[in-house]
Symmetry: D2
Subunit: 286 residues, 4 copies
């Protein structure tokens, strides 16, 4: 019987002895710790975050007893929260796209090459353009038009498609704003790629704004979606050098390379439970 | 007699034949073109920029005739403006600093190593802390305190020191805001280093803001100073990667390395006439 | 009648007046210079390189007279060589690939997005794996197996396919060594992507070597192919940061992103006549 | 009584339960773990590395009992080795320099700004040029000439100066080769900065070689010194972009910026016990 890989995320108020408590519980159940990342934002009374990956023979059988112990040691004793996940079961993702296909295709490629440990449950787009290509990857494609300012019908259809089918959603240059109601009802994390180096150039048309302002670098930002537009916790960012000779279209073209790289890193890290949300920020154990 | 290096900047409305006109005039006067950079922001009716570096034996003697020809060919015929500079005469600079010395020292140290072709005419600071060190480089240091909200006395003293003595001013983490009146009366370009990736985090305390927002990169921006704070034309920018584990102080420390690198590049390029202002933007022939 | 874009490359021994001569000829024929890049590796008796892009109404009609003038002014007077190319006619390229498809697909995808101004005449592979995908892009795919050490039969078939059909060849992770005879007979430039930061880790298996040596960055190099393996003129290089925690497979995965980015830049620059070979080196007017 | 910061490095053959054993021992002695980094190069029978930073009230008093426990739990039970260091006591370093001062001055600056937690015990140079500057930082300077091929007299003097006075040595562009005998007798780690991206351009004159080869990036490598020249374990590397227009002198100038940045990072990480040697490689918990 080979060992199952699992990840354990622990989060809460810092206190002396937490790491020992976590590793002690794991050790008593025969887990072999493969990697451990830990971070305290302030040694005196701050917040504590720990990601532990371990191998354990027969995880399924051990799980009830392990759960009871973790509750006893971490919840009751330290008031922490924890999440245990079997890493051999990939997270299920829905990718939302519009006409622009570079982020979408990059994710599908990486997935096919075995570089993204997720199950791509479906692609949803408000344009039919990429249907054939997506289905060529063997992935279901759903066209949900979103004409007009009232998105409620489209969002209702989205919710029907997503319900119980996905563990997170990726907006791969999906050029529609999601309602607060939708974000709440979908109930899973949503990752967006914003085509600028946030918080510079929030909102629409960032490359045109960047050109006008004469910046020497353009960037991209992957973040979790919250009700406040472009204000969600940042997961990853990167930039690329540009010059006065680049037009706004050149900036968009160069930026597209950064967008797809940044988004794929964010999706990978989320899929591997490497990202912990902490208010408006993230802890990334990459 | 060895050749003198000179640079010729030409700027104005684009038209057919300008490059040929410029190189034709230079050729007739025996100039040997060493490098030529040219940029048109729109081939149809846009703006034209050209930087030409050439060697010419006896530039001083030839200059009046060359000037007449350039006026004839470029100003009268094409309505362009031009600037000719003898590169063997370094530009004179005054560096303004406050307590933080990393940008100041980096400039002085590069200058001593022969990497900044300028004459550092003076260092002006509102704090006496760096006096000894600056004078150790053989450079005059003037302490001009700037207590209280009324900067007019300090600015009057600045103007007296700078008048006719410098070709440009560098604010090397000088933490005071210059009045519009001062900017106008000083009459030479002023380069500032802003400790953020503009236009993100304008104003004071950018590293604290960056920490709070959870960004994954911090940056620095060198720009020309205009009356509108943090809105002047950007010369150069760069970033460095940070993580959740970096405190605001860590961001400041990492950012300091970027600040000094970005500022020194901007000063070098300005010193070599590689930067052309174009409204709110710059053309950088680097 | 709209203007045709053309590029003129001029190369040879440096002398006073070349730039003026080139721009003078172009001006006399009504060309509007859009961009001009010039480089002299040594102002005293070195080599001279110039790339000029211009617009000219009715280039085809003017071409004979322009050619005569360029020969007169540049060849006879200065002993230079020149190449004139109509940029509205894209270069034709054959892409060679093996099993690894990331570089191949990246080129095809950029081409489809209109970011690579070339005509992809064919893809040749020693494995049939990517046939369907390539043909899905509407591009001919030829499977030419290369079993055994004797490559002469395969190379003969390659030459038959390529003859008069392509202007350059790209080896997109084609894992076969080309014979000197083939390189000579194919008669067009060949661009290769080497999966390391040359000259570190020449030859096969660079990621395994990089892992063993414990390097902190891995890179990729695009270069022109010469008879001497991994010694041809370098066009472009880049690197990505790695750590001790990356396995050799991780290095290969991270390196793949750099490979495709570096190769696509090299192909773009070659397609736009931005790369000039100069012995073992290149001048890149990017 | 405030808590003392200490670091514990543990290294050896991997086995189930090590992390729990380490954290258990620390917990029983009242240590509060501030950060924990762990790495196994192969979960099945590979090597194990762990760096733990913790706070402990009255470390000095607890140390004997803690030591006994660590020996019992880690050495006897798991056959591991461990090193415990009080981080409030900075490591003592000697910096070796030659004429080139950019790496030396960068280290001294950062030290003065409080960014390098070391005690700079002395600077040793084979040239007197930097004496005044070094002493201006309040640091002892020793001039030890190294004329001729026989370095034994100079090395004897070095050993006398260093004996019991330093915890590590930094070669800040010290252009002399150390004998194997010296390396062995000095008995402390030696960090060197090599002015190239190793393993490209080993040996002397790397920038000239890089120029000749036409590379598009130049780099620097900080590594531990071993008897085999330029083959010691790499701590850190970085690169900077160059072009055909850069002369070998330009490469050296641009490279100097990378050298000082790379060396200062390596020294900082070594000072904070973040670097673990593992044969020809390093584990860097940065």
């Amino acid at each position: 019987m080979s060992a199952t890989r699992a990840s354990l995320l622990v989060q809460g108020a810092d206190a002396t002895g937490i790491v020992a408590a976590v590793t002690g519980v794991l050790g008593r159940h025969g887990a072999n710790i493969v990697s451990l990342d830990q971070y305290s934002d302030d040694p005196r009374g701050g917040a504590f975050f720990q990601r532990t990956v371990f191998g354990l023979d027969g995880l399924a059988a051990v799980r009830p007893a392990l759960t009871a112990d973790l509750d006893e040691e971490l919840v009751k004793r330290y008031g922490l929260t924890w999440t245990l996940r079997d890493l051999s079961v990939p997270k299920r993702v829905a990718i939302f796209a519009s006409r622009s296909d570079h982020c979408l295709l990059d994710l599908l490629w990486r997935h096919r090459r075995g570089q993204l440990p997720v199950t791509v449950a479906m692609v949803i787009s408000n344009h039919p353009d990429t249907a054939e290509e997506v289905r060529g990857f063997g992935i279901p494609f759903f066209h949900v038009p979103s004409a007009g300012p009232d998105k409620s019908a489209a969002e209702a259809e989205h919710l029907k498609l997503l319900k119980d089918n996905v563990d997170f959603v990726v907006l791969a240059r999906y050029m529609q704003i999601l309602s607060g109601d939708f974000i709440e009802r979908v109930g899973v994390p949503i990752i967006n790629i914003h085509h600028s180096f946030l918080p510079a150039f929030v909102g629409a048309g960032p490359y045109a704004k960047a050109k006008e302002r004469g910046v020497k670098l353009v960037g991209a930002t992957a973040h979790y979606v919250t009700e406040e537009l472009d204000e969600g916790p940042i997961i990853e960012q990167d930039v690329v050098r540009v010059s006065h000779a680049d037009t706004a279209a050149d900036l968009a073209r160069r930026g597209a390379d950064v967008e797809r790289a940044v988004l794929s890193r964010a999706v990978l890290w989320h899929a591997e439970d490497r990202v912990v949300r902490d208010g408006r920020q993230t802890i990334v154990f990459a």
